[in-house]
């Protein structure tokens, strides 16, 4: 009777007020954890053939992740362009602590040097943008873990005898928090720049 503050009734009321508030703060921003990669350690390579443990090496930064294959003439360039627009928007606002990551789902074709060229011909700013490739089994696992599907549909036989594959693939850009958890998915080719910039700010805070 003395410790009124801890009475069951008070607790109930507290719960009623605090819990919804808590939920609002955590879920109201609509950035729930979609896929948790925080424990994963995929061994990938960047465009300079330097090993990158993904997403381990990105921890502490918010990451904007795009999935592409460089032989793609239409959708993937839009995804890449949208990432560039996000990068530019952040620069304008002096927002730091964000890394851009492009991962190929066609690593057999997209070697580090091919990815480097891809960035160079588009004159992309690679100061906070890495392009990742690796063993096919590893990139396949990355794609599976985030639900990105890429299936060779069309193929063309080149004069060299080599086959060139065109993929039907998920059109996706992901946003990853500082701990390596996927917090948002967007259509890569039709990204709402303002929205993702706001989501980035939410995750940076």
């Amino acid at each position: 009777m003395t410790n009124n503050i801890f009475s069951k009734k008070t607790l109930k009321y507290l719960l009623l007020v605090i819990l919804p508030a808590f939920i609002l703060i955590n879920c109201g921003d609509s950035l729930p954890i979609e896929d948790d990669l925080s424990e994963k350690k995929y061994v990938l390579f960047n465009q300079d053939s330097v090993e990158v443990i993904y997403p381990e090496n990105l921890k502490g930064k918010v990451a904007v992740i795009g999935y592409v294959f460089t032989n793609c003439p239409d959708i993937c360039p839009l995804t890449t362009n949208n990432m560039r627009l996000v990068q530019e928007a952040l620069k304008k606002e002096n927002i730091t602590g964000v890394e851009f990551v492009t991962i190929t789902f066609d690593p057999e074709y997209d070697t580090p040097s091919v990815l480097k060229e891809y960035a160079e011909v588009r004159r992309l700013d690679t100061s906070n943008w890495i392009f990742l490739t690796g063993d096919k089994s590893t990139t396949d696992q990355v794609m599976r873990d985030v639900g990105v599907v890429a299936v060779p549909s069309d193929s063309t036989k080149m004069a060299s005898g080599e086959m060139m594959y065109f993929y039907v693939h998920t059109d996706r850009i992901n946003l990853m928090d500082k701990e390596g958890r996927i917090r948002a998915s967007y259509l890569g080719s039709e990204l709402n720049i303002e929205k993702i910039v706001n989501d980035i700010k939410t995750l940076l805070n």
Binding site: C27, G28, N71, D74, I75, R123, M158, A159, F166, E190
Partner: protein
């Protein structure tokens, strides 16, 4: 009281955590685009306008985009595209599969109906250059040929640019306002 609390709480959790799914607003525009308005009335031959091509490295692929303005009285059909810049030059279309899958495929021909404008643009039709003989960098210009059933072979020049669909839309809008 307890029951009420549980109900309210679960409702809160349910609605509070509902994920706002990104909705695709994309709808492939029909071949007869609104650009009809922009058509020049008195031209009696097939016109190719505003051609551009994405930058790409040597041995890679890229897409060429443009507008075909058919202000003639008869339908015409694009049957082939040719260029000296790549091992293969094909006419392609991008298609959507399911909610968020995209792919592309070769198309044998495309009809441009009389009095319409057909736009080759991102997420729609493109001329695909496969295995480029040289790298294409912004500001450069390439030549290619489009073969039509009626108009025959038209030579066009495409500027190397890394355009976004939105930018394009803006330009068109301002053009129409003028």
């Amino acid at each position: 009281m307890k029951k009420l609390m549980i109900i309210i709480l679960s409702l809160f959790i349910f609605f509070g955590c509902q994920e706002k799914k990104e909705e695709s607003t994309e709808k492939k525009e029909s071949a007869k685009s609104e650009l009809q308005k922009a058509m020049k009335a008195d031209e009696s031959v097939l016109q190719i306008e505003d051609a551009w091509v994405r930058p790409a490295a040597k041995n890679r692929n890229t897409g060429v985009f443009f507008r075909v303005v058919n202000s003639t009285n008869s339908n015409d059909t694009l049957v082939a595209a040719r260029s000296n810049y790549a091992e293969k030059t094909e006419v392609h279309e991008t298609f959507k599969q399911g909610d968020d899958m995209m792919g592309m495929r070769e198309v044998e021909f495309i009809v441009i109906e009389a009095g319409t404008v057909l736009e080759f643009k991102p997420m729609s039709y493109h001329v695909m250059l496969i295995n480029l003989n040289e790298e294409l960098l912004a500001e450069q210009e390439i030549e290619l040929k489009l073969a039509f059933k009626q108009a025959g072979e038209l030579k066009i020049k495409a500027k190397v640019e890394d355009r976004m669909p939105k930018m394009q839309a803006k330009e068109e809008k301002s053009k129409m306002e003028m």
